[in-house]
Amino acid sequence: MSTTEKAMEAFVHETGGWVAAQLEACTRCGMCAEACHFYQATGNPEYAPVWKMELLRRAYEQRFTFVGGIKLSLGLDKPITDEDLAHWSDLNYEACTVCNKCSMVCPMGIDIGTLLHGMRAGLAAAGDVPADLAAAVTKQVNEGSPLGMTSSVWDQRLEWVADEWEVEIPRDVKDATTLVVFSSIEVMKFPANVAAIAKILNKAGEKWTVSSKAREIVNFGFYEGSEEHTKLFLNRVLDGAKDLNVKRIVVTECGHAYDALRWHAANWIPEASNFEVIHITGVLGELIGSGRIKIKPGFFNDGGKITFHDACKIQRKGGHIQEPRDILKVLAPDAFIEMTPNREESVCCGGGGGVIAVKAADPVRYASFELKIDQVNTVSAKTVAMTCSNCRLQFTDSVDHFKLDWKVAGLSQMVADALEE
């Protein structure tokens, strides 16, 4: 089977009534372009979300619709070619974080982000995935983690974190209430985050555990758009949870992993609905709200202004919009300041959706980060807090790149630092 045929097949497979109704609703008004940070940053018309999903639409029209079939046979529309797939691969993997901001401005309310995920499914089926992203996926398939966090590396790192921060990290505790699955970004690059979460949960007296089987929450198959890989990685987490017989799975500061496990897994793997899935932000809100942990009010009041960056997958697509604000208002009642736009309308960091893993995307990634720089500078914040380590990776990398003097902070870490003894 040719690659285009594989792509077409995947497109067709993706297209049920849900997708078709939305493809039919599009009026091609082009408004979505104005919402896209990559379009805003570069002015490249090809970055318009509607154009990024062009192949999905063409596949639908050619295969499923009467008018589309006629147009194809009359030569008014052309079959999808390998060149098309390669071109749209660049557009989708390099200049889209699947942040779904476009859906907020679409006058028809089309859930463009999800349709763009469908685009990726076709591109992944055809093998048109950027080499570095594909390599990361292969690494996750073989080693269990795209960052090479093998079983032994994971072991050593957690051992080291426990030692370094003098915090207990319960491992493979059967019948624990909560299974916490960290992302390799945290374990490898932001270990303080791991320590912080451990500290908070211990303080709250939560019966929690980590699992050596479910040690990686990151899901590069979801970035790639391959259902097969996505399910494989989800199953690793779910199997770990099943083995330990836990009630709920806490996703730590990782956006897309939360999106995949919380909002999609149950539709691919029915057993996923046996577990409550919650993001660490939700846990923090819950613990503080119920008084199980106490934080020192005004702890971060004196270090300059603090603003909060809303992550696409945790806030806009995740629903944890209010908790971080409630927490920050306690921690820094005077220093906390909102950027505009914020909350569900927030501007994406520019590094999500696997973009940061694709080297070729660096120029547009940095270009789009300039929008964020403007936003933060407008409120002259010195610290940017966030709940997603993928955003955090993009922030720390870009802060280096642009030589900015901001502090980039994970919310869990801030909470851990401000815990009342």
């Binding site: 109704a21 090809e46 499923f64 008014l76 309310g109």
Partner: protein, 225 residues
């Protein structure tokens, strides 16, 4: 063929055919989509899906159209908001609140309602026509719209524009006898009705799906729509 005969054809058999074709085509489009299979959403919601749907429709009909500038994207491309908005407003005023059009609805569905004075409707029609022209120019020069527009978009524009301009000419008796103008208007209306199911002008049918999906997706996550 006299204008009167053309008019009778356009108001009679041609209209009859166009109307039935439109209904047939829209039913075809609608059912070919809704019968394509909808997988059940097994995800446990965080907020209420139905509340999301209700809120998004209320906002889309009652709030956003009247305060578009609160949307951040408005400032980036106000033309498309204002042009598109005025076009749809004009469409509503002329087609629903214009006396002759109300009588068409009345004859078709047996229900009438009060209408607006002719000058009001007439000015709104002019606004709609100007909006259409501006939107066309915008489509020709805006880089994104240039990229995503093909013959289908321009045909759709043309077939929507013709009834508007012929209707305006008819009201003002420009370019021929009343029946000739009326006949031209009716023919373009008939052509439009045939074109609707063949094109994206049918978005008004699928709008309710995509808007409801939007409400569901955001409502289920407990996020404001």
């Amino acid at each position: 063929m006299s204008s009167q005969a053309v008019l009778e054809f356009a108001r009679g058999p041609f209209f009859y055919f166009a109307l039935l074709f439109m209904l047939f085509g829209l039913a075809y489009r609608l059912f070919s989509v809704i019968s394509l299979g909808w997988s059940k959403d097994r995800v446990v919601p965080m907020g209420s899906k139905s509340k999301g749907v209700v809120v998004t429709f209320l906002k889309a009909f009652l709030i956003w159209p009247f305060i578009p500038w609160v949307k951040n994207t408005f400032n980036r491309n106000p033309l498309i908001y204002i042009g598109g908005g005025l076009f749809h407003l004009s469409l509503f005023v002329v087609v629903i609140l214009g006396t002759p059009h109300m009588l068409v609805w009345k004859s078709l569905i047996g229900l009438g309602w009060p209408t607006l004075p002719l000058p009001v409707v007439d000015w709104m029609a002019a606004v709609g026509i100007i909006a259409m022209v501006i939107l066309l120019i915008n489509r020709r020069i805006h880089p994104v719209l240039k990229l995503i527009s093909g013959p289908a978009e321009f045909f759709a524009w043309l077939f929507v524009f013709l009834p508007m301009i012929t209707g305006y000419m008819m009201t003002h008796h420009i370019g021929g006898s009343y029946e000739a103008l009326y006949a031209r208007h009716m023919i373009t209306v008939d052509v439009l009705m045939i074109w609707i199911p063949l094109s994206r002008i049918s978005h008004f049918v699928f709008y309710f799906f995509s808007r409801a999906i939007h409400g569901q997706e955001f409502g289920k996550r407990g996020v404001a729509v």
